[in-house]
Each structure stands twice: as C-alpha cells, then as structure tokens.
Amino acid sequence: MNLQLGTLEEMILIILLMKEETYGVEIAKEYKNQLSQTISLPAIHVVLKRLEKKGFVESRLGEPTPERGGKGKRLYRATNKGFETAQELQHRRNEIWKTIPKLNFSLA
C-alpha cells in the first residue's frame, strides 16, 4: 500500500474522516478548532485536489447558497481507500511509538 501522505494531507484526511461529508470552509474551521492554527483556503484546495487525484477522497457538487455569493459548494467525502490508508498510517505510528524507551524521558 502506498503510504505517501504529507502531514497536511493526513490532517485534512482525518478531518474528512471525522465529518461525514464536508467542504473547504468547514475544513478550515475544524482545522482551527483542533490545532489552534489558521490555514488558508487555497492551501486546503490544493491538498483536496491532490487527495482526490490519489483516490483518498471523492467529491460532488453541492447546492449554491447566498452566503457563498451564489456559488455551489464542492462536497468531499473520504473513500474506503482513504480510511484504510489513514488507519494503516495511524497503526504503524503507534507501533513505532511503542518502541520508544520511556525511561529515557522522565515525566517528572
């Protein structure tokens, strides 16, 4: 399985997994909530396109709303492949995490 996934890509993929179906602005809000860090929309758009190209997400056009200046949304949803890849990454990371000898870093 190809596990090539950037940090930002992984983060956004996880947000997508969190939500059933979502779009750019929601992602930006969630990102801010979770990480207390702002992110620009064009950055999210680039990542979404990239994820879509890799087959981790799929999208459909949504309804136009007035607060969007009459423009339609593009709603994204993670695919199974996306879920599996994220899970696999998470799993492997946990495996590696366990090998860190805890005694070396005193928690006190």
């Binding site: 620009s40 929309l41 064009p42 758009h45 680039v46 396109k49 607060e67 969007r68 200046g69 593009r74």
Partner: protein, 866 residues
Amino acid sequence: MKHQPPKWALRFLEFFLRADYSDEIQGDITEAFYWRVQEEGLFKARFKFILEVLKSLKPTNLKSFYHLSLNTMIFRNYLKVAFRTLLKRKSTSFINIFGLSIGVAAFVFIFLYTYQIFTFDDHHQKKDRIFMAYKERITPDGTQATYDTWVPLKDRLISDYNQIEESARYYTSSASIKKNNRYLEEDIVYTDPSLFKIFTFPVIHGNHAMLFPTKNSIVLNEKTAIKYFDTSDAVGNYIEVFLQEEDTTLRYQVSAVIKNHPENASLQPRMMIPMESIPIYPELANSWNGSFLETYVLLRDPSDAIQLEADFPNLIESIWDKQVRENTNFKLLPFEEVYDTFFGDSANARTLMAIGIAILLIAIINFMNLSTAQATQRAKEVGLRKVLGAFQGQLRTQFITESFVMSFIATVLGLLIVVFTINPFNQFFDLNIALSQFSGLEIIAASAVLIISLGILSGSYPAFYLSSIGAIEVLRQKLGMNASTSFRNILVVLQFAIALFLIASTIIVSRQINYMANKNMGFESEAILIINASPWSFTDRELAQTRLKSFKTELSNKSYINDISSSRSVPTSWTRSFVFVRPNDWEGDPLRMRYTYVDANFFDIYGIPVKYGRNFLSDSEGDQRGSVILNEAAMRAFEFSSEKENTIRIGDNEISVVGIVEDFHFETLQNEVAPTLIFHRVADNLAAHNTITLRMDMNNLVERIEEIESMWNELGSTQEFSYSFMDDRVANLYEEENRYLGMVGLFSAVSIIIACLGLYGLTLFIIEKRRKEISIRKVLGAEINTILRLIFTDFTKWVAIAFIIAVPFAVYFLGEWLESYHYRIDISWITFVVALLIVLGLVILTVGYQSLRAASSNPVKYLKDE
C-alpha cells in the same frame, strides 16, 4: 451581510480559473470572508480575502491558454479565415506582404534619418527661447548676414534689455593639450558661465550650480575626460592648455564633466573655459572693433524678439554712430533655424519623408487594388455568409482583420529587414542611425501605430466595398463591378504618377550633381597634394618658421615633386576672413570682401590664368605690401576696367591692383564665385601661410607619402601629419548632395519595384477576368497583337494620365530645389521623356509576359465549359 467582498477580485478569478474549479474556490473564499468578518473584523477579512484570491492563482487552477479569452469565438474565426485567405492566394499575399514590408523598411530608414534632422538640437530644454544675435550689413546689392559679434555685446544686451534673461558668448579656438609630455590638438571653447543656463548640458560630475567656480576652471565632456584622465570623474584634476592664438600655456582645474553631446547638436563643445581667463581678455572686454565670437541670448518670452529687433538700431547708434546705424542691422536668429542656416537643408529631409510616405502609399494601394480585384472571387463567399445570417458589420470586421494580419506580418518583417540591413545602410551613406536610440517600449508603440494605421488605411475601402456586395446579386451572378473598377484605375494612375515623379526627380538631381562635379572649377585639381602646415601647431613659433622652411626646401629638392607653393587657404576650403575695402576714388560705403594670402607660385601650381596685368613678383618686398590681385568677381564688384591702373583702399592704405585672375570656384557650385582680394606673402613668410601645396609625380605614391610623413614627424609639430588630394577634396564638396541623390535614387527604385509588383498582380486578375473575352475574340479570328493592344490600351492610357499629373509637380518642386544652386541645369523635357520611357518599359515588362501568354493560349481550354 452588510459587507461585501470586493467584486473585481471575484471577476478576476472567474476570468482566470478553470471552469470546474471556479465555483468551489470562489464560493469557499466568499463564505470564509463572511465568517472572518465576524471573527476577525472587516479589515483582516478583506486582507485575507485578497490574499487568498492571489494564492488561488496556481498554475493547476488556471484555464489553459486556449480557453483564456472572453468571447473570442468569432474573433478566432476571423483570424482563421484571414490566414486561410492569405495562404490560399499565395501570389497576392506575397505581393502584398513583400511590398508592404519593403515599404515599411524604407519608411523606417527614412524616419530614422530624418528624425535626427527634425529633432536637431531638441535636447536643449529652452530651445524655443534661445536666439543667436547676428548682424546684417546693408549694401547696395542687398543685405549680407554675418554671425560674428563683439566681445562686449553680451553685457550690453543684458544691461539694456530687460526682455533678455541670459546671454553667453561662444568662441571656438584651438589648443594643444599636454598629455604624457606630448601635445594633442583640441578645439577649445571660450565661453561664459551663463552658457549652462541657456543650453541644456547635463552634468555628470561636479557642481550643477557653479560650473566655473574659479577663473581657472575647465569643463570637459565625458569623452574628453576619459581621453585625458581615463575616467569620466575627472573633477579636481589639472590640465595644461597651450592656447595657440594667445601663445601662452595656462593651467586649468577640471570643475565639471558633462554628458557627451548627441550627434544631432549644433554645439559640440568638448572643453570649455571661461572667457575671462584668456590673458588678452581685458584688452578686448570693451572693444567694439573686432567681431569674432557668437553671442547667444535667452529671452524671457520668444515673442519679444520682434520688439527687440525693432529697438536694436538705437543700440547700434549708441555704440557707434548714425552712419553705422544706417548700414547695419542687428537680428536675432531663432535657435530653431540654426540647422538650416549653418548645417544643411531640412527641406531635403522633408522631401525624403514625403518619399517614405509615398512608398507606403504605393504599397497600400497595391493591397486595396488586389483586394477589390479579387471581389469577383470572394463575392460568393460574401453572398453565402450573408445568406447564413452574417451582418455587414461582421463581414467588414472580417475583411479588416485580414488587412490587420497582413499589416502585422509586413511590419514585423519590415523591422527585421531594418535590423539586418542597418549596418550596410549606415556604411553606404556614411550615417550613424540606429533603432537603439529609441527604447523598446517606444519601438513597440510606434510599430503598433504603424500596424493599426496601415491596417485601417489599406483595409477599410476593400472591407466597405466587399461587405456591401448584395447577397442576391451575387447568387444570381449579377455583379456590377463598375464602381470599384474606376476607383482602382484612379489608384493605379496615382501609383504611376508617383513613380514618374520620383524617376524624374532622380534624373534631375543626378544631372545637377554631375553638372557640378564635372564643371570646370577653373583650377587644376589633378596630382595636387595639400599638406596642413601651420606654424600655429608648434609650441615654439620661432622654431616653427625655420623648421618648416627647411621642410619645404627638402621637399622641393625631391625629384618627384614638380612644384611647391605656400598659401593661407586653398580652393575647397577657402578663406573666411573679411576686410572692408573700397576703390580709391569711391566716396560711398566700403564693401566687405574676403581676402587671403598666397605666394607667387600659387596661380602657376593651380593653373589659374592671369587675365589682365601680371602675377606677383617672387621675393619682392614691395609686392608684399602694396599690391593685390583680384578675381574677376571683385573686378566687377569694384566696377574696374581692365584698361587703366586701379587702386583700392583699406582704411588709409592704398594698394595697387597688379593683376586680375579668372574666376575659379573655390567652394561648391551652390554659391556664386565671391569677390576675393588676394595678397602676396613670400613663400618664406610662413606665419602668413597655413598650407603647402605640392604638384606630385603620382607614381609610387604610397612610399612617397610615407617619406614625406617621416620628414614631417621630425619637425616636432603638435599636429599629426595630415594631407589630402585636391581632386578628392573637390569630390567631397558634393558629399551631402551625393548622399541625398543616393537616398532619392534608392527609395525611388524601391517604390517603383513595389508599384511594379502591384501592377503584376493586377494584370493577373485583369487577364483572368477577360479570359473568356480573349478566347472568343481569338475564335472569331483576332490576331495576337490585336489582343495585346486590347490589354495594353488601358495601361497606356493610365500612364499618359499619370504623366500629365506628374510633370507639373516635378517642374515645380525640383525647380524650387534647383533654385538653391547658383550654377544649375535647366529642367529639360528630355528628362520627362526618359522618365516616361522607363515607366512604359517597366509596364511592358511587367504586363507583357502575362498578356502574351494569355493572347497565345489555346481558346478551347477556356471555352470548353460553356
């Protein structure tokens, strides 16, 4: 939703973004804007909005170039059709584009050349307020302008006239400048600090406000600074100047360095020193006796010039007396007119510009003629388009597009031709023109103007005409072509008229130049070598005398030198010195006349016959002081008769006229031979002479000149050996005229080639149209020459009409040009016959082959379809 995101930014996105991404990106950014307005405030939201718009312009989000345009479908269709038409009619397109691009190239060359003349001195910002003060002598034969003025005039003008803001004197002298223990000859200008307030001389180094801070300051231009100090920042360095006319050496400190002067400037000072620093200045400061320098003034308002000129007689009277007031005028020459007064003739430049425009016109006419001639072939296309719903306006746009495509290609090609041929052009005409004097932006803007005007001029008539063809008439094959035919005929006649005019002009100009170059100058110029040998170009003049004398003796002992003579001036660069003189028994005003000094051998070496009286006696002291030889012009001016003894008076000195020489042309034949007084100074009196004339045996010339040069180099002069041949000097008198002739000839040839190309294209169409007529005539028994006559009648008629139009124009304009030459040819009718024969010959060549082919072709080929 009180606050709106900037609409323009969204439209911007709409234009550039891929259609399938556009909605999402625009929508998200807009939504985020409203969210941020609430969370972070309006300012931040707006800032982030614009930032995100810009960040969205990533290559992956953009439309491909192909889709990037508003509503370009129809326009792209026009372009497509235009290119197809160009490719479909290759011969026509070639004629159009080739003709037009050559026309553009010729026009650009002419423009670059004449631009230098039209913008002469334009870099002086106060040009319109600058005037040159000069004086006119009122003589019985009219007024005589001279441009030399007096040292105190400047201060007098400033103190007497409030209308004059500044004034500066300007005198060019020669100096020897010391560099590494060698002396180099330079022109040096004595002037005033106010010169820099009148003229625009941009300062690179030094203080702008105080260019002459002390009396011993010198201002250099960049080139001179680099020549002497290897850097343009020479401020503070000292320079040693030997002033030849003052016979003193002075030390100057460089106070400023100014920019190099543009080529097309009348004043090109390379070294300037304050006039007050010259040792002799205190003596001259208040002297109204000698006039030798130029005085420039800057008026507060240029319209004051008339008022000032009207008041100058009072000034003259207050300086001298009533009598001087009677025979002298003071005038102000607008700086604008300096080029025409001293440098050349801007009328020639205007003529060239007219030729340039005529060439473009001929090329434009080609396009118009060929497009309307094609009308029959394109009528079906037009008809069909109309049936399918095209409006006339759309069709017009389409045809205009075609002419724009053509003018675009032609202009680009024309500029390429210029770029590749500018060096040979410069070399051939000895010019220094370059596209690089304009910035890239200027060139692009000028090209755009050219493309648009060529496109509109050549395209509008065909577009209007072709689009007006009615759909029904076309489809019913009833196309009346009369209107376009007669218009086309007028255009062809116009082309012929221009061609005839240009050919006639070329012939007349070249005949005039030949006449001047071949006319007997009245002196011999073959095998004569001139050496510049002035005692002024030695630092020690006592030594110079003896050295030059031995140089001359040595020369005369050489077997290959047949004759030798010393003189102040030689023909082709004749004296510019004047003196006031009158016949002894005259009571009237004296005449202002040129004078020069020669030795007794001068008339022999140049073969100038002494008509009356005798030559000077060699080595005669009395001859040197009390006798003069006149030329015939002077004899006429004095109203002397050859029978009796004549004497003239200069001041209180009586001088007897010992001989009269035949008039010889000591300058170009543009001017009448001027009266000249020729005085005798013996050959050994070298202070009076500036040149040595040698009559040489012309074999092994190179070695002999090298030998003379090495003899010269031993003399220790500050000046390098410089020599010239008299026949070259005579030929160079007409350099400017020859250049003008070369340009007129070249561009006439270009215009005629373009006209012939157009004619060729037109013939193709005319024959095509009359194919069936010709074939039927042949079937009915017409001979080949009958058919040829049929085709040629039209062309002959056009040439005849063009001839009638062109002749009066040529007679008028060239008559005016010839007016400026005192010795000139008459315009003869043969010129026009020759021009007519050339044009007819070209018409026969261009039209002939095609016609002959049409006339001798097999009629069956063209009639079998009927």
